[in-house]
């Protein structure tokens, strides 16, 4: 890991127009609302939070699969917020959650991986193309025999490997991994997590690793950001965030993870949150977490908490950090 920023996101906003409850009513979903962070070269930044909090939207907006509503995306020192993405499509890739839906069932695995090579003219000859496909398949733990088979002939874990081989075909530097292991069996998840780690070591990749499973995210990430209703609420080094979180939401999230050890699990102090996540169409005023926060007061209702650095590299947005500790 280098101390050089590969990706910077500044005050990123992504709003979607959706139809409201009433006829002709238009409303705005603030899926990502003023989010700032950076990722160093060779680093893994994890992004966690409950479903609908804006993780996927953040990842997709960074890749400009959505046009950002506001804010800046800087890749390798260049502002790409409005740039022509063609040269960056090779450098920045994405791996999806659903290994079933993201592969064309009519194409062989070799052609799925080969397609990216063709689009970007990365092979001079048929032989070179074939050699490259085999090289990619072996990188992700598959072999040349698999090239002639179709996605339905593979298990979930193997399909996810194919998806990763496809992403790697263009020699990317940066990969958004959007819930890449959530659809897999526990015993297979570990295989895929190890593969992500090995590929990072071998190829110097940088990851934005999105998942709702904090245990997995902590395992693979250097730093972790926690999102709630379109906002980043806390960001810190992985152990710091797990053991010394200060935001009430992060704390409840950590304490809600069921520990796979009966004695520790039963002894653990739970900090069970009341209520549900409010709708992002009509988020609470002030701090968006206030409807579920045990420390909320008038101040939290009236003004939005600032994004502050409480110790080196540890950022939090909360008015009452002193109370929480």
């Amino acid at each position: 890991m280098e101390d050089k920023k590969l990706l910077e996101v500044e005050h990123l906003k992504q709003y979607f127009r959706v139809s409201g409850g009433k006829l002709f009513e238009r409303r705005v979903v603030k899926a990502v609302d003023d989010v700032s962070f950076f990722i160093n070269k060779g680093e893994t930044l994890g992004l966690v939070g409950e479903s609908g909090c804006g993780k996927t939207t953040t990842g997709r907006t960074i890749l400009r699969l959505y046009e950002p509503t506001e804010g800046k995306i800087i890749y390798d020192g260049v502002d790409i917020t409005h740039a022509d993405m063609k040269p960056y499509r090779k450098k920045m890739q994405i791996v999806f959650q659903d290994p079933y839906a993201s592969l064309d069932p009519r194409m062989t695995v070799g052609d799925i991986v080969g397609e990216a090579i063709d689009i970007h003219h990365l092979a001079a000859s048929k032989e070179e193309r074939r050699a490259r496909i085999i090289e990619l398949l072996s990188l992700v733990g598959l072999n040349s025999e698999h090239a002639n088979r179709y996605p339905h002939e593979f298990s979930g874990g193997q399909r996810q490997r194919v998806g990763i081989a496809r992403a790697l075909a263009v020699n990317p530097e940066f990969i958004v991994c959007d819930e890449p292991i959530s659809a897999l069996d526990v015993s297979i998840q570990a295989q895929v997590v190890n593969m992500f780690e090995d590929l990072q070591d071998q190829l110097g990749l940088t990851y934005l690793f999105i998942a709702h499973n904090l245990s997995v995210v902590k395992h693979i990430s250097n730093r972790i950001g926690v999102m709630y209703l379109g906002k980043l609420v806390e960001l810190a080094e992985a152990n710091e965030l797990t053991f010394h979180s200060v935001h009430p939401y992060t704390r409840s999230l950590v304490s809600a993870i069921p520990i796979a050890d009966p004695i520790k699990n039963r002894a653990a102090k739970r900090f069970v949150l009341q209520g549900d996540v409010p709708s992002p169409v009509n988020p609470p005023s002030g701090c968006r977490f206030r409807t579920r926060c045990p420390y909320a007061d008038k101040c939290c209702e009236e003004c939005e908490p600032e994004w502050k650095e409480v110790s080196p590299g540890h950022f939090v947005a909360c008015h009452h950090i002193d109370k929480v500790q």
Binding site: E50, S51, S155, G156, G157, Q158, D185, V186, S187, I188, Q189, A190, Q191, V193, N194, E197, H212, L214, S215, V216, K218, H219, N239, T242, F243, S252, L253, V254, S255, A256, I257, P258, I259, A260, D261, P262, I263, K264, N265, R266, R270, V272, L273, Q274, D276, V277
Partner: protein, 351 residues
């Protein structure tokens, strides 16, 4: 031909349930006869649940967790067929039950909640309609009494503003609230057994914590037994009294929660526990995955089903299915490593 078969089943001695058991399943075999061939979904499953106990069933996707639980309620989907074994539930001999018997039993003595509450609630009826319908189906309460009971149930499962919720439709509720409604419906007649099939998998962890807390609370209040099906070892660690581990249509190990976590004896159980990342460890240690891919139940291996992925696989494992070894009164496991004496004897006999 048919008659003869019937005679045979009659003649077969039916093993009866032990008196202190709510659920007793002996050697259940069940297959799905699909166009691609026979999917041997359950291959000799034996399992029991005592009244008021929480049994966790864990295992890979497709290992047979749901099929086991559903067969007990007469919910085996077409083209599934029970091929053998004896199933007892609450004094009923399930094998001989008709659809009518099952209808009487479901909702009254046993209820089920599913992973996705949206698919099990009817989108065109209000929450109130759906709860009241279940109550009126199973009790002789009139409309007014049923409504009062519905309110009581919504309060029991911790839903705020229950009056208002009764008039709402499923899509107006969040996932966590829908799951609470499903639990309320399941509890309408205070069943002896609640089957919860991945009840929190579709929920966020903070909501999962709420639902698990609720289930534990209700269990104590109503003194019912729960079969909790999940792939999350963390969930069973905190909630279950006993755990059954399934692999490829078999229960490969079962024991108390402590026995399974602190003394796992089957190579699959050991692998499963080793492969999950531990949130509460500071050091980064590489995960130890189980290599290989899950079993294809169309062509299950001849010997131990875990043999193709087992690091300690021996020759005998490829040829012969291991039998259960009793490790303690409560702990059994199906692995040749625990039964060395036996396979050495068999090998001698062969030679």
């Amino acid at each position: 031909m048919k008659k003869k078969q019937n005679k045979e089943t009659e003649a077969r001695e039916i093993i009866s349930a032990k008196p202190d058991r709510l659920v007793d399943i002996y050697h259940e075999r069940l297959s799905f006869f699909t166009p691609a061939g026979e999917v041997k979904a359950l291959n000799d499953v034996s399992l029991s649940v005592k009244p008021g106990e929480i049994l966790g069933i864990v295992g890979e996707s497709g290992s047979g967790k749901s099929v086991t639980a559903y067969s007990l309620m007469g919910l085996t989907a077409y083209p599934g067929k029970l091929l053998g074994g004896d199933l007892w539930f609450n004094g009923h001999y399930v094998n001989d039950m008709t659809e009518r018997d099952f209808c009487k039993m479901r909702g009254n003595e046993v209820s089920i909640i599913f992973q996705d509450p949206m698919t099990s609630l009817n989108p065109v009826y209000t929450i109130g309609n759906q709860i009241e319908e279940v109550i009126r189906l199973h009790t002789d309460k009139n409309r007014k009494q049923a409504k009062a009971r519905a309110l009581e149930l919504l309060e029991l499962v911790g839903i705020n503003e229950p009056e208002k919720r009764l008039k709402q439709y499923p899509h107006e509720l969040s996932g966590g609230m829908r799951q609470r409604v499903m639990i309320a419906i399941g509890l309408a007649c205070e069943p002896k057994l609640l089957i919860a099939d991945e009840p929190t998998t579709a929920l966020d962890v903070t909501i999962q914590a709420q639902i698990l807390e609720l289930m534990m609370d209700l269990k104590k209040k109503l003194d019912m037994a729960i079969i909790l099906i999940t792939h999350d070892l963390g969930v069973v660690a905190g909630t279950c009294d006993r755990i059954a581990v399934m692999y490829a249509g078999q229960i490969v190990e079962s024991g108390t929660t402590e026995e399974i976590f602190y003394h796992p004896s089957h190579e699959y159980t050991k692998g499963l526990i080793a492969s999950i990342p531990k949130l509460h460890e500071e050091e980064h240690t590489r995960l130890v995955p189980i290599e290989g891919t899950p079993v294809d139940l169309l062509n299950p291996p001849k010997g131990c089903p875990f043999a193709p992925r087992c690091v300690n696989c021996m020759k005998v494992c490829l040829d012969r299915q291991p039998a259960f070894t009793e490790i303690s009164d409560t702990h059994i496991s199906k692995c040749w490593l625990l039964d060395k004496a036996k396979w050495e004897a068999e090998r001698k006999a062969e030679n």
